[in-house]
Symmetry: C2
Subunit: 219 residues, 2 copies
DNA sequence: ATTAATTTTTAGATTTGTCTAAATATCATA
DNA sequence: TATGATATTTAGACAAATCTAAAAATTAAT
């Protein structure tokens, strides 16, 4: 597999909800910032190699082989993100770009030893689950903060948007994964929320709340 | 710089004795296992970009810029080798191939943080010096084991040949970097050596002795 | 059910890095 | 110094990954 093929497989995986549904050519093109014609070319190659099922004009669907390949790449990506954050003190908004390069290094031994070195982490610095050696994905029951009602409580365990700007925003307001969050009240006017996070109170917009994953406290 | 350009620069650096002398096209071709015509093509590109000085039929010479680029790649290569050996328990015969991939990752912050994480090592697992951030190379006065005379002593600090087969041979005979070595005597017939290494005695061929670097004991 | 808008594919070109075969320059040797 | 051997470059081709422009299929709107 070339770097380019791997990047396409990964993009299709994300766009298809983990291989659940099929993905239109243009969606891949805009995700990857290439031309639709380039996508068509690559899809044909991936189809020949049986990573995807492809019917002209009907979009593309990941095969079992394609899903497993995607999971292997995502496993590498997220383990490297953990390494960068935990061992090299990278901030969580800095890890992604470097991991985009590191995910293409080919060595099974390397990634398994890295996994061990990191203590077999289950989640990356953004709270996304790390696929296991055989593609197993940890499942958690989590909610978006925006879906919670007053008096509900939980732990902040992940971000939906992991753009640099959002992550920096969270840093600025001292919101971090692992923080305890309680909804105080929700403004009817704009659905903004007053929350208690750890010891301090905070007012946040709906936009923010739709991008934070919470593991609700079991009552 | 592309991966391929980086690999050429590195090969030229090694073949030219660190940029000291010029390198013939065919030497590069055989080192890189490509055709001489491919080398000519690449040399032209590197010359346009001013990494090398090139006169048709006269071989190629690294520029200052080329030397610095080579040192930066070698720094990355050797730091990754240390990481693999020290942190992930790779054997010293396994680190090179993976480092060949890792050396192309582009992130200054990554390599500086890695350097710090490793405790600013000065030598890689084969005893080769690791260039500093600004290209400084540690210099040691060392000798080949084959150049030593009976009763001379020293510490084994590096290998000249770092092929997998040689490294495995050393493992098998319990020869490791850091070992104390004393020459007992040299056979006149084939220049093989009887040595004392740490506590045990060993008979080794001239071929072996020409591939071990020793830091002589100051008398 | 036509027609118009959108999406997708095809055709043909470009760049990068490689190759083979042929031409040319340099080197070694008589 | 002429000649043959060796080293190097040129010419032309190819595969991979991309692009633009044009054609074709699908979808949406009248
Ligand atoms: Mn990421
Ligand atoms: Mn992540
Ligand atoms: Mn190496
Ligand atoms: Mn080394």
């Amino acid at each position: 597999m070339t770097h380019s093929e791997e990047n396409y497989i990964k993009a299709i995986y994300h766009l298809s909800g983990g291989g659940m549904h099929s993905v239109p050519t243009n969606a891949i093109a805009s995700q990857m910032e290439t031309q639709p014609s380039s996508v068509t070319d690559m899809i044909k190659k991936l189809s020949d190699k049986e990573y995807v099922l492809y019917k002209k004009y009907r979009g593309v669907h990941l095969s079992e082989k394609g899903i497993n390949t995607a999971l292997a790449i995502i496993r590498k990506h997220r383990l490297w993100e953990v390494f960068l954050a935990e061992k090299l003190d990278f901030n969580w908004d800095e890890v992604h770009d470097v991991a985009e390069q590191l995910e293409h290094i080919k060595s099974e031994k390397l990634i398994d030893k890295l996994d061990e070195f990191l203590g077999f982490p289950k989640y990356d610095p953004h709270g996304d689950p790390i696929p296991g050696k055989n593609g197993e994905l940890a499942q958690r029951s989590l909610k978006l903060l925006s879906a919670m009602r007053p008096d509900e409580e939980g732990i902040c365990v992940g971000v939906k948007d992991s753009s640099v700007s959002f992550l920096k925003f969270l840093d600025k307001h001292n919101i971090a994964l692992g923080d305890h969050i309680k909804i105080l009240d929700v403004e009817e006017f704009d659905e903004s929320l007053n929350i208690q996070i750890e010891s301090k109170q905070l007012h946040i917009s709906k936009r923010i709340a739709t991008n934070l994953f919470i593991k609700p406290k079991l009552v």
